[in-house]
């Protein structure tokens, strides 16, 4: 049951094949068994079981709230959850219990979803995991064989999402299949009076029309994405995917996004500047960590912030403040904003030339082992991780990573589709067609559980847990 799609589980719940409580307990047990993975910061077992109980009552009365009723969900620990500790994996917010729910969390709970807990992240999401600022939904999705959707900026409320870069942050959706992502997006999308950057226009329900004929589609292949660092395996899957579209009658053309190569450095200036600003509120006064020093307010600030933030966060705060200094503002921040505009304009030009979606890799390669991963410092790592994903955030475009196949090592590889702004439905429709063609294997969680004990002796975790 745990390996099934949202639709399938929802149907099983409606038909009474499984109860919300049983499902919830299964999830909780797998969370416990995989505790060594450190995936969760907080497991909200009690809350989840209580929600399950209520959901069960609704099903018994035949008053289910919809497709999400009784469905277990996890939320990254940078979304505010009322009454549940929200830390951003930072000492700074250790013990901080928000008094309110993020709009997206509230929307999911209103639909009857069960909140299992809060998942781990780099401190303040400055690495590559969940909400999506530079690729943090799509990259992990690609590595884990999941669908990772970054909706258009302004389509989904950021209220309650603890910000990294306000102008690029988007709540991301991780699901097993494109349909599920569409269902969740349908619940989350729409104007939020609490977030002035969400669009005012009413959002139509996200029902994906079934696409059988791709002959009218034009798929763009950005040539700048063919970088030397791209692994040959990903490269060959990418061209296989392009061929697939072409063989089914779609027009596949090479396009150019000339400013994409500046995306990472531009991002660095804008991101650190916004980080410096956003982190100014963590002063130990109103909430979160406070040091013991009370010589003066200034000394208290300094020590609190030194103790509360890790090196990566502190480094970004320092560079961000440097870029925002009066003497540097024009040379860094304003220039970066101009570059950002050029990057966004590249996409506009391409889409105006008749391209419907862009097809790109999501990541340079399959997931690398931890020992490899920690070799690079955070900045280099995020530069490599976000190389294909970041430009979509710069331009506010919707993008989705769809798993395509397993690597020779047995690890998942995903490809990315980037669509026109606010054409999320069109993007998902094409992604679903692709998903149907490639038939990515379903993760067999039960097997994973059974093999769990042997996993550590046998490094080939993924190969035993996935069936080709």
């Amino acid at each position: 049951m745990l390996g099934r799609t949202l639709r399938e589980v929802s149907a099983a719940l409606k038909q009474g094949h499984i109860t919300p409580t049983e499902l919830c307990q299964k999830c909780l047990s797998i969370i416990k068994k995989t505790k060594f993975l450190n995936a969760y910061i907080t497991v909200s077992e009690e809350v989840a079981l209580k929600q399950a109980e209520e959901s069960e009552k609704r099903y018994k009365k035949g008053h289910s709230l919809g497709d999400l009723d009784g469905i277990p969900i996890a939320v990254k620990d940078n979304f505010s959850t009322s009454g549940i500790e929200t830390t951003c994996a930072s000492n700074m917010l250790r013990g901080y219990v928000p008094p309110y729910n993020a709009t997206v969390v509230q929307k999911l709970l209103d639909q009857g979803a069960l909140l299992m807990g809060k998942t781990n992240l780099d401190e303040f999401a400055m690495g590559a995991l969940g909400s999506d600022t530079g690729g943090s939904t799509r990259n992990p999705a690609a590595h884990c064989g999941l669908v990772g959707l970054k909706p258009s900026y302004g389509l989904v409320s950021r209220h309650g999402l603890i910000p990294l870069v306000n102008s690029m942050d988007v709540p991301g959706i991780l699901t097993r299949c494109v349909d599920d992502a569409a269902i969740v997006l349908g619940v989350l999308a729409g104007h939020d009076p609490k977030d002035s950057t969400t669009i005012q226009d009413p959002v139509k329900p996200f029902v994906l029309p079934s696409l059988t004929d791709v002959s009218k589609l034009c798929i763009g292949i950005p040539k700048e994405y063919l970088t030397p660092e791209l692994s040959s395996e990903v490269r060959s899957l990418w061209s296989k995917a392009a061929n697939l579209f072409e063989s089914e009658g779609a027009k596949v053309i090479e396009v150019s996004l000339p400013h994409t190569s500046y995306s990472i450095v531009c991002y660095h200036v804008l991101c650190t500047s916004e980080v410096a600003s956003n982190m100014a509120r963590f002063d130990g006064l109103e909430y979160g960590h406070r040091c013991d020093i009370d010589v003066s307010t200034e000394a208290m600030y300094a020590a609190t912030r030194r103790e509360g933030f890790n090196d990566v966060v502190r480094g970004r705060i320092l560079s961000g403040n440097f870029f925002l200094l009066k003497e540097n503002y024009e040379n860094y921040f304003v220039k970066a904003q101009k570059v950002r505009r050029l990057i966004a304009n590249d996409f506009v030009t391409v889409f105006n030339s008749g391209v419907d979606v862009l097809l790109t890799p999501t990541t340079l390669s399959e997931a690398v082992p931890y020992t490899e991963f920690i070799k690079e410092d955070n900045r280099t790592r995020s530069a490599q991780d976000d190389i294909f994903t970041q430009a979509a955030n710069m331009a506010g475009l919707p993008a989705v990573s769809v798993p395509m196949a397993l690597s020779n090592q047995g690890l998942p590889i995903g490809l990315q589709f980037i669509g026109r702004a606010f054409c999320d439905q069109e993007l998902l429709t094409i992604a679903r067609w692709f998903e149907k063609q490639v038939q990515f294997p379903v993760i067999q969680l039960q097997e994973l559980m059974d093999d769990c004990s042997s996993v550590f002796e046998n490094e080939k975790l993924a190969s035993v847990s996935l069936k080709q």
Partner: protein, 557 residues
């Protein structure tokens, strides 16, 4: 609250007087109202009034002072600029704080429509160009009562620019001549207020109250077009009246709804402007004038003694009456301005640009706000002068005292008395009594109706002026009696019986032959003595002019 408010807000008149005296002395030869005749952007140096240094040296005895103002007016609105928290003065500490006001992570600003309308209305009243597109910025600094570590303001593109504030003095022998002056309004920007810090030195603690954090402010920036404390105070007073007339701010300085920072420099006329200092947080009109004049003199003394002026931030010590440097780092820090990413540009429309079918709840139409502009104080004063033949200085006083104009108008509605009489009673008698007891107009024990009735009695000569004063004093004691009741109880009616009056006059003349002799000898003052004696026996109930007529007739016969 009203008593301290009067005390703190209204001494403007007294200071205005002092300023005219002080400034006109230095401005001898310069045309009156020079500021208003100056072209925008033109150097103001030559026309600045001069302040004579105490110990003039040869060739450098003349100094010109330049004063610019940054005025923060709290917007009168139900809720804060970016959150739904209520706005109240003197609510229990931290009782009006939303998650956003406390800067809880993940919360976002939502712009308050009312605050935008207030800014547009104020901009229109100050002849500004309203920017159809304006932007919000973050201004960063660490302070305990600034929870987010930044203030949201409008640095790059404010909502209104390039306006003017016309303020006036009464000058001349009888203060009957009105001199208009103009201070250019550089811009008006919307921004958040900070919270309040209360320093407990004994326990070396700072207590924070966030009730004020996030309240909407209008920052009105006045160009350095003023030249002394009194001009600045008068300009601020006029702005205060405008804001109150618009209802965009209560602008009560005692409650901190209007706060002023002054930029001050001195230079020799014809030379470039001097280094300026900023005197921060001036919270009363009186302190504003005092602080500016002190600072001007301090700078002159400093320069005359070979010192130099530092570009620094100073505060005014009201007890010592001097400005002192703020050790605070607020002086020269880099605010690291950044666009506020959570607020899209603020777009305004006029009738022409209004998109067809736009939801009126979602758009702000500048022209509609223009239509709603109430009468501004300068117009009200002009009308008073025209309608009632009032002296300009009286029109100023009527507007300067909160509620006095309304009182006057209510009296006018119910009385047949001459406007001049009413003005005199309201400005001299009523205001005198109020001032003596430190009361606000709203606290007056004498109602407009009672005063109107009293003036009617006086108008139809039912009582004498002195009796009227007596009745007023009785009314002030507020024992619930009408003027008519008091008149009848105290037997204050004028004696109308001509025959009885003639008999009394006769008796007085009989009793004071010496005085009668004096009159006949040609002493013109002697008759007044007789009038006084007659009035005394009538218990002041006779009309002196009638008595005079009778006496003259009798003395001539």
């Amino acid at each position: 609250m009203a008593a301290p408010m009067l005390r703190l807000c209204c001494p403007g008149r007294r200071w205005a007087l002092a300023c005219i005296d002080g400034c006109s002395r230095h401005r001898r030869g310069a045309p009156n109202g020079c500021t208003s005749s100056r072209k925008r952007g033109q150097s103001s140096v030559a026309q600045q009034p001069f302040i004579t240094a105490q110990k003039p040296r040869k060739g450098e005895h003349e100094w010109a002072a330049v004063v610019g103002l940054e005025i923060h007016a709290q917007i009168s609105s139900k809720s804060k600029l970016f959150s739904g928290s209520q706005v109240h003065f003197a609510a229990p500490p931290n009782s009006l704080v939303s998650f956003f006001d406390a800067s809880l992570p993940g919360t976002l600003p939502v712009l308050n429509r009312r605050c935008v309308e207030a800014a547009v209305m104020t901009g229109l009243a100050l002849n500004c160009r309203i920017n159809k597109k304006s932007l919000f910025d973050r201004k960063h600094y660490f302070y305990a009562d600034l929870p987010a570590g930044y203030q949201i303001t409008q640095q790059r593109l404010p909502i209104a620019v390039n306006g003017s504030l016309v303020y006036s003095f009464c000058a001349g022998k009888n203060r009957s001549q009105v001199i208009n002056k103009t201070a250019r309004v550089k811009q008006i920007q919307l921004e958040q207020d900070s919270g309040k810090s209360l320093h407990d030195d004994l326990r070396s603690q700072t207590l924070i109250d966030l009730n004020r954090a996030g309240v909407g402010l209008l920052e009105v920036v006045l160009e350095p077009d003023m030249s002394c404390g009194e001009e600045a105070a008068t300009a601020v007073r006029e702005l205060q009246l405008i804001l109150q007339a618009l209802g965009t701010s209560q602008a009560n300085m005692a409650e901190g709804q209007l706060r002023v920072d002054a930029n001050i420099s001195v230079h020799h006329p014809g030379e470039p402007l001097g280094v300026r200092t900023e005197v921060k947080n001036l919270n009363s009109a009186r302190f504003l004038a005092k602080a500016i004049d002190y600072e001007i003199q301090r700078q002159i003394n400093e320069l005359e003694n070979g010192g130099e002026i530092l570009n620094e931030t100073r505060s005014f010590d009201s007890k010592l009456g001097c400005t002192i440097p703020m050790r605070d780092k607020e002086g020269k820090q880099d605010y690291r301005f950044m666009p506020e990413p959570n607020l899209p540009p603020l777009l305004l429309y006029d009738t022409e640009s209004l998109p067809a079918g736009a939801d009126p709840q979602q758009v702000i139409d500048i022209d509609r706000i223009r239509e709603q502009l109430p009468e501004l104080p300068s117009v009200t004063r002009e009308k008073l002068v025209q309608q009632y033949g009032m002296l300009p200085e009286h029109s100023f006083t009527l507007l300067n005292e909160v509620g006095l104009l309304e009182f006057f108008q209510n009296v006018m509605k119910e009385t047949r008395a001459e406007p001049k009489k009413v003005t005199s009673w309201v400005l001299n008698t009523l205001l005198g009594f109020l001032k003596q007891q430190n009361l606000a107009v709203s606290e007056s024990p004498v109602t407009p109706s009672a005063l109107a009735e009293l003036l009617n009695l006086l108008d139809r000569k039912a009582i004498s002026s002195s009796a009227a004063k007596q009745v007023f004093e009785e009314l002030w004691r507020n024992e619930g009696k009408t003027p008519a009741q008091i008149v009848s109880e105290k037997k204050l009616e004028l004696m109308q019986d001509q025959e009885a009056l003639e008999q009394l006059c006769h008796a007085v003349m009989e009793g004071h032959p010496q005085v009668v002799m004096d009159v006949k000898k040609g002493n013109p003052r002697a008759i007044n003595k007789l009038i006084g004696l007659v009035r005394k026996v009538t218990l002041s109930r006779a009309d002196p002019t009638v008595i005079k007529e009778i006496l003259e007739k009798k003395l001539a016969s």
